[in-house]
Symmetry: C2
Subunit: 481 residues, 2 copies
């Protein structure tokens, strides 16, 4: 991020080390402090001990003591070695079909980038919609929305979207720091961040946390499928998609409003790409097949994860994806590990009665409010708390179950409330640059200052919150009864 370079790097590194050490000491004190605190009346000792480890693990990530992988692995080891949870329960997340779906889909998404299909779709959209700055903004949202259902990792999708936005910006004559078109660059780059907040909310399979949240919601009697998610998300999300580019256009105020050259550049790029290559055809066919099967999964009684495995197998067998490609995906393994660990710990916390206990206490405090006011207050609080998190999934794992529980206890109808929280889990990612790893490429592009990022992030999040509450609430109450 080009704005931070001014400080002396040695001093910065030393103060970072000191800050990390302090953060680690705080984490240790927190873990020990909670652990040795007597468990509140009505709560099992194991539940309290697991909460101490889980809270310390999440706090460690929030305050920068450890990366999420280190934190979760240490918490897991502590939880099992102290006998707080049984080993087989601690490892159960690794065998969870929903988590495996995400792992496999990460690998499958690699093929879209590799074969060039992602870039082709991007250029196609620009060639059709890129005549004006506003049109370019809409084309970013459109491309993202179209490719999203096949990308359960919004981070992976940002890897496809960013080169497109960058090439669109470059086609429009924008360079970081260049005079006269700086705000055009900021607009396009923030469209990328903002688009991911809503494209991820539109489709069940467009973001890793969605099926994970659905799995948690299942515990409250809400069954969410690919189809029912789409119905619930469609109206508020399409409203947000329709209004967000215009909103950002007005807030940022790009210097240039017409880009008549962009469609031509895109057509030239498409021309240079030539006809669909065999690899692109194979990937396209595989994805269409997977999306069709995912859509029909509920009716035909097919397992979604097995469909993803079939797609992975097809791409490997065709040679589009090679063992060499998989060998580069060690970060998928890291994600798999911390994800599975935190998922299992969160699940055990719930199973041991902690969520219910916390829910009852919080519900007691919000007791006097009507379900509508309580629900809205909870959604707003849930969104604001994301300032403390660096991962959408960690936030979901830590708080979604608790908030859902409190809402249900206060009489908020479970289906609309769960969906609002799940959509919020997608759109709160924009509020800070570190709010989602999907932001990082855009935030580091050099087109957006730290100030821009926090200001536009807060505005975008507030805008989304307003739309989902105002448009989403009545729609959800209507369709999810």
């Amino acid at each position: 991020m080009s704005q931070a370079v001014e400080a002396d790097p040695v001093t910065t590194a030393a103060s970072r080390d000191r800050k990390t050490l302090i953060a680690r000491a705080v984490t240790l004190l927190l873990a020990l402090g909670l652990w040795f605190c007597p468990a509140p009346a009505g709560l099992q000792v194991d539940a309290w001990h697991l909460f101490a480890l889980f809270a310390a693990a999440i706090a460690a990530v929030v305050i920068g003591a450890f990366p999420i992988l280190t934190s979760s692995v240490l918490a897991l080891a502590a939880a099992v070695l102290t006998g707080t949870i049984a080993a087989e329960d601690a490892y159960s997340g690794f065998g969870n079909g929903t988590i495996l779906l995400i792992v496999v889909a990460f690998l499958v998404a690699r093929a879209v980038v590799k074969c060039g299909l992602g870039e082709r779709l991007g250029q196609l959209a620009v060639s059709l919609f890129g005549r004006s700055t506003l049109g370019l903004g809409y084309s970013v949202f459109l491309v993202d929305a179209v490719i999203a259902p096949a990308f359960p990792s919004n981070t992976a999708r940002s890897g496809v979207l960013f080169p497109l936005v960058l090439s669109v910006a470059e086609a429009a004559g924008v360079r970081p720091g260049s005079e006269g078109r700086q705000r055009l660059g900021s607009f396009l780059m923030f469209c990328g961040i903002a688009s991911l907040t809503v494209s991820s909310g539109l489709w069940f399979t467009a973001m890793a946390a969605n099926p994970l949240g659905a799995e948690i919601a299942k515990g409250y009697g809400l069954e969410i499928s690919f189809g029912s998610w789409l119905v619930a998300s469609s109206v508020p999300t399409l409203a947000a998609m329709a209004l967000l580019p215009y909103f950002l256009y007005k807030v940022v105020g790009p210097e240039v409003t017409a880009t008549p050259e962009a469609p031509r550049a895109a057509r030239a790029a498409l021309q240079a790409m030539g006809p669909l290559r065999t690899a692109e055809k194979i990937v396209a066919a595989t994805f269409v097949g997977m999306v069709v099967l995912w859509g029909a999964a509920a009716h035909l009684g097919l397992d979604s994860t097995a469909i993803a495995f079939l797609g992975l197998g097809a791409l490997l067998a065709s040679g589009v994806l090679t063992l060499g490609d998989i060998a580069k995906e060690g970060d998928v393994l890291a994600t798999f590990i911390w994800f599975a660990v935190l998922f299992a710990m969160s699940g055990q916390l719930n199973k041991l009665g902690f969520m219910g206990y916390l829910g009852e206490r919080l519900a007691g405090r919000l007791g006097g409010l009507s379900p509508l006011v309580a629900g809205i207050a909870l959604v707003v609080a849930y969104v604001l708390l994301h300032y403390l998190f660096v991962s959408q999934t960690a936030h979901l794992l830590a708080l979604f179950g608790v908030f859902l529980d409190v809402g249900v206890k206060l009489g908020v109808p479970v289906a609309p409330f769960a969906f609002l929280l799940l959509f919020a889990t997608n759109f709160f990612s924009a509020n800070t640059p570190q709010g989602s790893s999907a932001n990082l490429l855009f935030a580091g592009s050099g087109f957006l200052s730290q100030g821009d990022l926090y200001r536009l992030g807060a505005l975008t999040t507030a805008f989304n919150l307003a739309i989902y509450l105002l448009v989403g609430t009545p729609w959800l109450v209507l369709v999810s009864r």
Copy 2:
């Protein structure tokens, strides 16, 4: 492998493609042929269908139709989508503690290579034992045996051992193709391959298939721990370690027998390395801690996998291992996937009664033989069948359970028989260059022709088989009652 370069590469590639296509057609025909064959009387249809998929998946790897990842992923998708096995059973391998132990240990082993501790231990051994060619051979076996318990991947260990053997060979003045010292190079390189066959057998945690086999043996009432494995393996394996270098020395007949310069070169290399670096100390302390805890795990009621997670967490927290290192370990993810998939399928095959059925049939055919003769015949057959396999673990998964079952039905005592098969699973790796991925670095070094590899491989395997049967059988009968 330098010996194969003579052929026209285009023709070779084309004929390889044709061979792959034929192999895939054969795999498909095999799968469909078995699937639509009526299930033999006394066997559930699901068990027969799963056998069709499992056999086709293993056959596909053996005949080169697909790599093991592709094959297992396709078999899994077919098994779940056809309803042959339930999704949760199919994914259960991912949550298995034993498999997770291997995954974590793969990552932890990376730190030994990265920090330079592996090379230091190697140079130390050479400085002590490297005065003669035979001494150099023994030093390879010694280093390997000492580092082995911390390396559950013999492939990962080969990555530490190979640079050592190569630098020893170079210190002794050997280059591929150079006149006068060619057989010295062959001797040292084959010592690497042969050493891995026995070091892997010595320690429970020295080879991924060992705990996996122990998990399968548990189903026959045999509980294997770190300690009981070591007792069982010690006498026959130390006998093999003591005799193998001398045996290979006599068979290969190196031109040079004295290498007085090697200890000095090693001391110079150690000098150049300087004192133990902080990273090496951290890794050494972590490994000692892990090995101590693993040794005490049974007594203290600690979970071995959680100990491995603790070690991983410590290495990540100390910064010896970084997220960037993990990001390069995508092949660990690939191994995790195929391993977990085949493990679960093999387990389900057993659960559905297939192994028992096959065991009864085979037992019927070997019916007249005494338990001793039957046991020996089964071990010899098990070893010979490895000519068909390119993976030790795939062999174990496919045949260990079946052979164990047959032996038990014929009255062979389960403990000595299971251990002999498990040791064989380690030592049969030498019989072909592709018999284990741990061979590949040595086989590709240019010091060994294809002829050497098959001839020395067959001799080493026969030698090991003789030692384990003659020395191991009475020892195992003595200690495993």
